[in-house]
Assembly symmetry: C2
Homo-oligomer: 263 residues x 2
């Protein structure tokens, strides 16, 4: 079955809209974009559209590709401190010369909808975060929608990046899954992957996961557009499509987090 | 080969002694013990002995088993704030009625030799910690001593507790190992474990890991006294013994952390 991400997202957004209404004036979510990146811009537009649908203000701050760490930090400090900004997204990846974690740390915990500052990650890793990182929220929503219980299942996570692998693997272990993390150094990726009941992928390498790496009936959640969807969808029991899959759910999760943080 | 933990510990302690000398007056390390626990008391005595060997003051604060969260937090605040105390260890596990993380959070980062407060864990998980959690330091020291490169190896971690599994698994992934975490819910533990090049265990269940779960030539590092050592030592390529194994290295790592934090 193909996972209907739009349907799940609509359900979340409906709830968010109800909660967003209760604020005296609309909450504002801010996206910070550095440099030109058509993919990121598209993703921002989706966030903006969803925000407007549920009555949340959305503002984009743009900075040139060659901005320095210090200058960007200074600008971020202004943006994150402004009372009118309730939630801050720094669109990743940043240009390579910038120190990502240092810049993410400008976001105070109560505005950190992506759960990415050092403080927010600390809270998350000790189980004290008020919200879940959006990728995890997406996985959880999919599990709920399709009645998947990760306990005792073998989950293989491709990639150990900031936005998907690192946080999702930790969460899955805490849900009782047996988790294996595959990185670029892993040998026998095919053999390992074929055993998985659940595959979560966040690498960003099209074609990385082919149909022969998927056990018949497995659940495949693809954040990185890593899966050869056409062939894989014939083997997987449940799979996210490249469009209308995890994308809309992650967008909805960000808006949900904004509202949760201020409720 | 049996890993000689005492030898590695002596090497670390020699370095620590050299660095500890440079302080005007001796640094003081504090251990907080709640309730009566002979195992913990023994471990504290080992820390005390090692501290004295390298010129570090050691003080034990003891509290009754039935102390409340609030009262203990109050006492910890006094202890952790005192300028004379440079490093704080809260001996774990605490009695069940106490909120462990809440109490660990009283330790400021610069005194958190075990890297366990929410803030210290956050710094560790984003790669900004000045020191390594002692269990990881122990693994790293063993790898260095016996020239083991985890990159591309399959590492199976038994348990996902605060002191071993959670932090070591994260670190191993960052070292390029393919990591699998086994918990109580994992099926096929024998089959999975038998594939491992490296086994790290921190469960605390004697007899959990038997010889048939170990691949011939594998490296076995046992923090939890989980391994059936007699039989396992005949199969493993490298293995920590239950006495003189990881224990002394962890103790030395704590003292190393104290000195590093203030250097």
């Amino acid at each position: 079955m193909i996972i209907d991400g739009r349907k799940i997202a609509q359900r979340i957004l409906k709830e968010v809209k109800g909660k967003a209404k209760k604020f005296e004036k609309p909450l504002r979510l801010v996206a910070v974009l550095v440099g030109e990146n058509p993919e990121l811009r598209k993703f921002i537009e989706l966030k903006k559209k969803a925000a407007q649908e549920v009555g949340i203000d959305f503002k984009i701050y743009e900075f040139p590709e060659d901005i320095t760490n210090n200058k960007l930090r200074e600008e971020l400090n202004k943006i994150t401190k402004a009372k009118v900004n309730y939630g801050i997204i720094i669109e990743l990846p940043l240009p390579k010369h910038l120190n990502t974690q240092y810049l993410l740390n400008t976001i105070p915990e109560e505005k950190d909808v992506d759960v990415l500052s050092q403080k927010s990650q600390g809270a998350f890793f000790v189980g004290k975060s008020k919200i879940l990182p959006p990728a995890i929220e997406a996985v959880q929503q999919i599990f709920t929608e399709y009645s998947i219980d990760p306990k005792g299942k073998l989950a293989v996570v491709f990639g150990y990046g900031l936005l998907v692998g690192k946080q999702v693997s930790h969460w899955l272990i805490n849900q009782g899954a047996t988790v294996m993390v595959i990185t670029e150094y892993t040998k026998d990726q095919v053999k390992i992957s074929k055993e998985a009941d659940i595959i979560i992928s966040g690498v960003g390498k099209p074609g990385l996961i082919t149909a022969d790496m998927i056990k018949s009936g497995a659940t495949v959640i693809d954040f990185g557009k890593d899966v050869d969807f056409e062939a894989a969808s014939k083997k997987a029991g449940l799979i996210t499509p490249p469009i209308g899959g995890v994308g809309p759910i992650v967008v909805a999760a960000v808006l949900k987090n904004l509202v949760e943080l201020w409720t």
